[in-house]
């Protein structure tokens, strides 16, 4: 691709990214309370999806166990706040570090496999994590989970007081997290390293033949993907004050897959769009019936059969070639 075209495409992509974040920033002043909290949650979940998308959409690795990374962040932050009494910013960092270490370890083992075996290994490891959380019930409170107290969620940082139970603070921090994660992903996929990841997605053998050490690139992608997912988990636990084993269950490995497939794998804003739509679809369905997970199954099936590129992926194919 020639220089000027590349440059113009980048400008449009950056404008779209900035526009999306600006809209989200302004949205908080007009949303009613109920949707205000929902969108804050969605932003954190979209960060989780953005981490997942880095692996599925840009590196071509389909993980069925990302709940373990989300849970690593959730429990890394939640347990260190609850049992070690760390203040919120330190607890958040503890969650991110837990996710980083854990995802590198998982990567060293799981990336020795490819294709279907990789999917099953990640599924199994995630299930082992879920069972381990239940096993150490005294410490984690298992299925029931634990709630972080209001005092714990207040404090000061650099002389400024904060209170995570304030909805505006929560929204602001959730948006900050999402903006950093998705802009970071955007920068990464436009960088030479990101190009190598896409090359691995398209044809790993060929990329290896060109002299790239694909294992290291995949390890980097999995490590970053796991760390972003863990930062979402840590933020989710601290912002919404609940830590429980549900978030480590298989359902939370499937949901990011669904969000990314719906929004469009390999698009920067797809994870947000997918998480937003699916959150409200599931919410609506759960008001109608107790078997609301039916829509999750139906959505997965319909997407994979008729709409494999998702919303933004299809729009990119048909109209906007420049869409990041």
């Amino acid at each position: 691709m020639s220089g000027p075209v590349r440059h113009r495409e980048d400008r449009r992509g950056i404008a779209l990214q900035a526009g999306a974040i600006l809209i989200l920033l302004l949205l908080q002043f007009v949303l009613p309370d109920y949707h205000h909290t929902n969108v804050a949650r969605i932003l954190v979940l979209a960060t989780f999806a953005a981490g997942y998308n880095l692996l599925l959409g840009y590196t071509g690795l389909l993980s069925l166990g990302h709940a373990m990374f989300f849970a690593a962040g959730l429990y890394g932050a939640g347990l260190s706040a609850q049992h070690l009494g760390l203040p919120m910013p330190a607890a958040f960092l503890a969650g991110v570090l837990a996710g980083l270490t854990f995802s590198i370890l998982v990567g060293l083992v799981a990336l020795r496999t490819t294709g279907v075996a990789f999917m099953i290994v990640t599924l199994m490891l995630a299930q082992a994590c879920f069972l381990i959380i239940l096993y150490f019930n005294d410490f984690t409170r298992g299925d029931e989970g634990f709630v972080l107290s209001a005092e714990m969620r207040r404090g000061t940082i650099f002389g400024f007081g904060y209170d995570l139970s304030d909805p505006n603070v929560r929204y602001g921090l959730a948006l900050l997290l999402f903006a950093v994660a998705s802009t970071g992903c955007y920068r990464l996929v436009r960088s030479p390293v990101g190009r190598v990841l896409v090359a691995i997605r398209e044809n790993e053998a060929r990329t290896a033949m060109l002299g790239y050490r694909t294992f290291l690139y995949k390890l980097f992608a999995l490590g970053l993907s796991g760390t972003i997912s863990a930062s979402a988990g840590a933020a989710y636990g601290l912002l919404f004050s609940y830590v429980g084993a549900t978030f480590a269950s298989i359902q939370y490995s499937i949901l990011p897959l669904l969000w990314v497939l719906l929004g469009g794998a390999g698009t920067i804003l797809g994870p947000l769009l997918g998480a937003l739509l699916m959150f409200y679809i599931v919410e609506f369905a759960s008001e109608q019936t107790s078997s609301y997970m039916l829509v999750v199954g139906a959505a997965l099936l319909l997407l994979v059969m008729f709409f494999p590129k998702g919303i933004l992926g299809t729009l990119r194919d048909r109209y906007w070639r420049w869409l990041p």
Binding site: A110, Y135, G297
Partner: protein, 293 residues
């Protein structure tokens, strides 16, 4: 109780669990072996078998033996029909692409599970065992029905072995597994073989579900554990190797039974799950599998 009776109980429970597990895993292994499809919805066929067994048995209240036989025939047929529909409507249209079929079968998992929740409800229901007979050992009494489970499982396993190794259908199946395109060139209707295999795989899971339901109640979420255990068994036994699957089911089923009785069921699952992930990483063909071509 002393150590020996305790161990005996653990072994007996382990054997019963292993038989049911071997049946369930056999279906998964068959489908993977021939079609190269990892069926994540396999546990739901087991669950569907169990729930339908309850439905069939409640058609003839007061006659547990007849109700059970009706379930043993009816459930697998209904489940097989569901599987054929899933193969025709979904898997075939995806051309059996590995990653797409996994995502699609995850979708099927939720669709089957949640439809059962909507139609059958969140309750757990038991089916009365067809025979009411207790074996009295010096230390404890043991349900005679569990021996029926063992016998029936072995009968189905032997039947599956006979069909695959000694019949014309078995030759067609193995030819399709060995080389799909050549089989097609020799006039084997590969599409129909695939539908049949997928149905047979689902039906063995359904039979396992019917057999278990007098011991364990039918519930819409009961499919997850057998699914994960079947994955473990199929992977350890070597993907697609039926003999390996059966051996692994017995080793894992009995081992899990012993750890569960002496330590905790949860610990047994953790150990099994981590071990299988490591097996898959370091011995990709399983401990008993042949190197794939």
């Amino acid at each position: 109780m002393d150590f020996f009776p305790h161990l005996l109980l653990a072994l007996m429970e382990g054997v019963v669990g292993a038989c049911v597990l071997a049946l369930t895993a056999l279906g998964l292994s068959l489908v993977f072996g021939v079609m190269r499809v990892v069926n994540v919805a396999h546990g739901e066929f087991y669950m569907l078998g169990a729930v339908l067994a309850w439905a069939f048995a409640s058609l003839v209240p007061g006659l547990p033996a007849i109700g059970f036989l009706l379930a043993l025939v009816g459930s697998p047929i209904v489940v097989g029909a569901v599987a054929v529909a899933a193969d025709r409507l979904v898997l075939r249209r995806l051309d059996y692409a590995p990653e797409a079929t996994i995502v699609a079968t995850i979708g099927l998992l939720y669709i089957i599970q949640q439809s059962v929740l909507a139609l059958y409800g969140p309750n757990a229901n038991a089916v009365v065992a067809p025979i009411d007979f207790r074996i009295l050992l010096p230390w404890f009494g043991y349900s005679g029905y569990k021996l029926v489970v063992v016998a029936a499982s072995i009968a189905v396993l032997v039947g599956a072995w006979y069909v695959t190794m000694k019949t014309r259908i078995g030759i067609v199946m193995r030819a399709t597994q060995y080389d799909r395109e050549t089989a097609q060139n020799f006039g084997i209707p590969v599409d129909r073989v695939y539908s049949m295999i997928f149905a047979l795989g689902a039906m063995t899971a359904a039979i396992a579900g019917v057999l278990i339901v007098p011991i364990q109640q039918a519930h819409y979420l009961m499919g997850l554990d057998p699914l994960l255990l079947s994955f473990i068994v199929v992977i350890v036994g070597g993907l697609g190797s039926l003999r390996g699957t059966v051996v692994a089911a017995f080793v894992i089923g009995i081992g899990k039974g012993i750890v569960a009785v002496f330590f905790s069921p949860n610990l047994a699952s953790i150990i099994a799950t981590v071990l299988v992930a490591l097996v898959l990483v370091f011995w990709p063909n399983g401990l008993f599998g042949k190197v794939s071509r």
